[in-house]
Symmetry: C2
Subunit: 312 residues, 2 copies
């Protein structure tokens, strides 16, 4: 086999630290940065957050694609994305702990009525509100992959009543697990706090819509840290106006940065965060990508292989 | 023995649900409410949040005192409090989970810079801040009793670097345990987020003062949910002004409700909550008190016996 030729492509990431990383650890790798592909048939590996549609298809000798994130829909949504080439996503790099932190923060913020207490504090108002013990509070998590399963375990350890919903049935101690579209209504009917951690696929696009909000028990909270394409923004606003929902914390949006004219900004019942629920640390990401690259070359299986038939 | 005579005394709690509880389960108990003590020498049991100083001393046949809270300093601070009569405090009644929730919320709020993100959200500002992985963040918990030991375990499970400090040395997996005054400086020197869960004793009164804040690494956070008497308010304000501390979340105060003229209110770096970190649910509290009462009568040891020599 010829020396590896790695193509880097991302609108979000600076290529230079990656060039340095490979220069340090794998000086044999020919590191190229999109759009300076050179001879496309020479490319053997791709390291990408995103790349223009159809681009990967023009690389007949591509052996593996390493994604620079945990979500890979922006790669898979290209109908010309080469189906025969293995695709690996970031599976940890510190993301799991951060995702759980963010979700727990949102759960606790609403569960403990901290928005109200913060307002009281700024008005010098000593006012106690009713408290609900976690054993009386139902938290429902959509998506039970690496992130969701970590979150439900932590919630359960904190004595919350926890349910989880996934495409295929999971079994997790202390968690009521629901599966598939037919069990979604039951799962939703008691979801006081709904956390979305689903991957974006054809089945889940736009899943957070008026129909779904209408199946919730009412007056609860939504914590949305899946993918921008899950949420129908105007349906969320309507659900908040009609008390279907009481509060929402949103980290991902169809267009990022969220445009300044979006009605999601500065809504009194919405907290917008700028896609920071899980920020891969450079160090951990670099370590994982380098390890995946080397494993793949040795014929071993790197972490995070994406099942293209499922889309995650 | 004569039929039990129970004296109820609390400035905070309504006696009527308690009268009903005993009427339902122990109709033989003569239930009296302070100040209508009747013949003080008839009183055999006391159920109190607080009672005027010296009052208990005038009840020579008192067999046991049950506290209506987890903190008992307001009872013990009476030098005439009868030392020979066993005192039991609330040990759970759902308090532990709530205390951990509150502390975790505070930890996550500062750790994940949610105050800043909330301000950005209200200004339609998409701005990402640096994140710190929990394995790089030190949380230091003062007090490793029922509450503190639950909290440090949860923090450790979330991958934080956790230290604990207590009067006598504890051993807890994944937690760096420090003990006694001689190890306090080391404990404080790396405390980025300091959580106070100490009991109030002669040794801990005023412990959150300028001297202690001066030993912190600087620019961190304080989460104070011990007792009001721990904190020297003006020292906290000075520590916040001088960047010894960056943020504080306070739930307990020497005078409650916190007077409206207090400078702690509406300080941009302080979140005041009205002593709500742990609110005993009536149902759980009633169950525990009734159980303790019956156990004590049968000669068994109820939960929560206070060691009067230590003060907690």
């Amino acid at each position: 086999m010829n020396a590896p030729v790695l193509l880097f492509s991302s609108e979000l990431d600076d290529p230079e630290p990656w060039r340095d990383l490979f220069a340090r650890h794998r000086p044999d790798v020919d590191f190229r940065v999109w759009p300076d592909v050179g001879n496309a048939s020479a490319i053997t590996h791709a390291l990408i957050w995103n790349i223009p549609k159809g681009a990967l298809k023009r690389m007949p000798n591509l052996r593996a694609v390493f994604a620079l994130g945990a979500g890979v829909d922006q790669i898979i949504c290209d109908p010309d994305s080469p189906r025969g080439v293995p695709l690996f996503r970031l599976v940890d790099a510190g993301l799991r702990e951060q995702m759980t932190e963010y979700a727990l923060y949102g759960v606790l913020h609403w569960h403990r009525r901290m928005g109200e207490y913060t307002a009281f504090s700024s008005k010098r108002e000593w006012r106690r509100l009713d408290a609900v013990h976690p054993s009386q509070r139902r938290v429902a998590v959509m998506g039970l992959g690496v992130f969701g399963s970590d979150l439900v375990r932590k919630l359960s350890a904190m004595s919350f009543r926890v349910s989880g919903w996934s495409r295929t049935r999971k079994t997790i101690d202390g968690v009521d697990c629901y599966a598939g579209p037919q069990e979604l209504p039951t799962f939703l009917s008691h979801a006081e706090i709904l956390v979305n951690l689903l991957p974006l696929t054809d089945e889940t696009r736009g899943i957070l819509n008026a129909d779904l909000f209408g199946q919730l028990p009412g007056n609860g909270a939504l914590i949305h840290l899946g993918r921008g394409g899950h949420l129908v923004g105007q349906d969320l606003i309507a659900a908040l106006e009609s008390q279907r929902l009481d509060w929402a914390m949103l980290d991902v949006f169809p267009e990022e940065p969220l445009p300044s004219h979006s009605p999601l900004w500065s809504h009194p019942k919405i907290l917008v965060t700028p896609h920071i629920a899980a920020q891969a640390s450079n160090e951990r990401t670099e370590r994982q990508i380098l390890e995946s690259f080397q494993k793949f070359e040795r014929g071993e299986e790197p972490l995070g292989r994406v099942d293209l038939s499922k889309g995650y």
